[in-house]
């Protein structure tokens, strides 16, 4: 996912990423002007390929990068680049081998997901929200980042992001979001 900068301008023509401000993601890799920056197309494809979230779910949103690889999703108006404190919400960490969605993003958009969603029983869900890791041998899908969800008030509701490896689901719920429920 991160190695297709060659599709666009050569690396030497590209600006370095300025981690202090928000820059809007280019529509496609070919329109990239900042070295190493993911494109909107790659981000939308990632959510579709990994979680089967329909690309249309993002039609009304723009994606932005600030810092090294931290991607934000925004529904309002803003010029690019812009130096402010926050723009919409963080949604994804790029510039690393395995991209990682945020807890708050999957809570907001994860109901649209059809793949890589692991349903937790109520005690497992409580442990996950408290930040605990659990052995979960029953998962037969892909390893890597999953959306952990539980059934609540008659519907499946995403709780956060888990990392599934070697039969264990590790809770990625950030410390400040963890709760004893």
């Amino acid at each position: 996912m991160g190695d297709d900068a060659a599709d666009g301008a050569s690396e030497s023509d590209l600006a370095q990423n300025d981690g202090q401000r928000f820059g809007r993601l280019p529509t496609t890799a070919a329109e990239r002007t900042v070295e190493g920056r993911a494109s909107r197309e790659e981000v939308v494809d990632y959510f579709a390929d990994r979680f089967a979230i329909p690309p249309e779910a993002f039609d009304d949103y723009t994606f932005w990068e600030k810092g090294a690889g931290k991607i934000w999703i925004y529904g309002g108006d803003a010029p690019s680049p812009i130096t402010i404190e926050a723009i919409g919400m963080t949604c994804l960490r790029t510039r690393q081998e395995h991209w990682k969605p945020t807890t708050d993003f999957v809570q907001r958009f994860g109901r649209e997901a059809g793949e890589c969603v692991i349903e937790l029983e109520s005690d497992e869900a409580r442990a996950f929200a408290a930040g605990e890791d659990r052995e979960l041998e029953r998962w037969e899908g892909d390893w890597g980042y999953l959306i952990a969800a539980h059934r609540i008030a008659g519907a499946l509701e995403p709780i956060g992001v888990g990392l599934y490896v070697h039969g264990e689901l590790r809770s990625m719920v950030p410390k400040g979001r963890q709760r004893e429920l």
Partner: protein, 302 residues
């Protein structure tokens, strides 16, 4: 409670007012309709065994029967957000619409800014500003937990706020929920009156006048500005609105509010205010068993 004595002449049933101020306040939450409908949020509360009671004036505000409203699934999922009942008033008076550009001048910790986003179906632009960098992290945390994608967060002094950073040059609406002496939060913070002084009223009202003036200037003709505080002091309420009427292009407009309230004052000590200040609202703790609040609605006229 002594500083409150100065309001004896303006508060009906002053003893009931004082009694209410001495009673602790329960836990209220606002349903965050960005993430869940009122039906879904209340069903989750019922499943968790958390008792709740709706309030008459706003279907999205609930009073919870629990001491730890933050330790529920409904809170973890961002379906509900702890917010005092009266603090849900100003955003509803501002009545933002989807797609608009709205400025929340003093937005941290974000309860009202995210409420504005929810009222706009999270479509449009809510510029959530606060001058205090330390409080911006709480604002960002709440915005993310509540899933508000329409917020742009800035850290500046609202009194000389510049729109140059954006690609638009005026707002459709602005909310000035001003820093204040917080007398009306006495039921939540029993020490709210500890540092009270008339000197502080002078100091904070200067800031309030500056922020409200800038909000009127930054809002388009025909747009709406709501001014609110959680205090009773007329120096911070009617006098601030009067100052904006005198110097900026704006007028007071009437609004419906289904909570019991008293009209704004047209005189205080030796000062007289415009008759239209009667169309502003003073909400006292004994009227609805809430905190205290002041709200004024202005239309920008040029």
């Amino acid at each position: 409670m002594e500083p409150l004595e100065r309001y004896r002449p303006i508060v009906d049933d002053f003893e009931a007012f004082l009694d209410a101020c001495e009673r602790p306040l329960g836990n209220a939450v606002r349903v965050n309709t960005i993430k869940a409908s009122v039906d879904r949020a209340t069903t989750v509360l019922e499943e968790e065994g958390v008792g709740y009671e709706g309030v008459d004036w706003n279907p999205r505000v609930l009073r919870l029967e629990t001491d730890s409203p933050g330790s529920t699934w409904s809170s973890f999922h961002g379906f509900t957000h702890g917010q005092e009942e009266v603090s849900a008033v100003p955003a509803t008076v501002l009545e933002p619409e989807p797609g608009e550009r709205v400025w929340d001048c003093c937005a941290a910790p974000g309860g009202k800014a995210t409420q504005l986003a929810a009222l706009m179906d999270d479509r449009g632009t809510v510029v959530a500003n606060d001058s205090n960098l330390g409080r911006i992290s709480a604002l960002r945390f709440n915005a993310e937990r509540l899933g508000a994608t329409s917020l742009a967060v800035t850290n500046d002094d609202a009194r000389n706020y510049s729109l140059e950073r954006f690609d638009f040059d005026e707002f459709d609406r602005a909310l000035v929920d001003a820093p204040c002496s917080c007398e009306g939060t006495i039921r939540k913070n029993p020490d709210a009156l500890d540092g009270w002084s008339e000197g502080y009223l002078d100091e904070v009202s200067g800031i309030q006048k500056g922020v409200l003036g800038r909000a009127v200037q930054a809002t388009r003709e025909g747009g709406t500005v709501v001014y609110s505080t959680c205090t009773f002091a007329p120096e911070e309420n009617e006098a601030v609105v009067q100052h904006a009427l005198d110097r900026e292009d704006c007028r007071i407009v009437d609004f419906d509010l289904e909570l019991e309230h008293s009209p704004g004052l047209t005189e205080w000590n030796d000062e007289e205010y415009d008759d239209h200040l009667e169309q502003t609202a003073r909400i006292y703790p004994h009227q609805n068993d809430t905190g205290g609040f002041f709200v004024a609605k202005l239309e920008v006229t040029a």
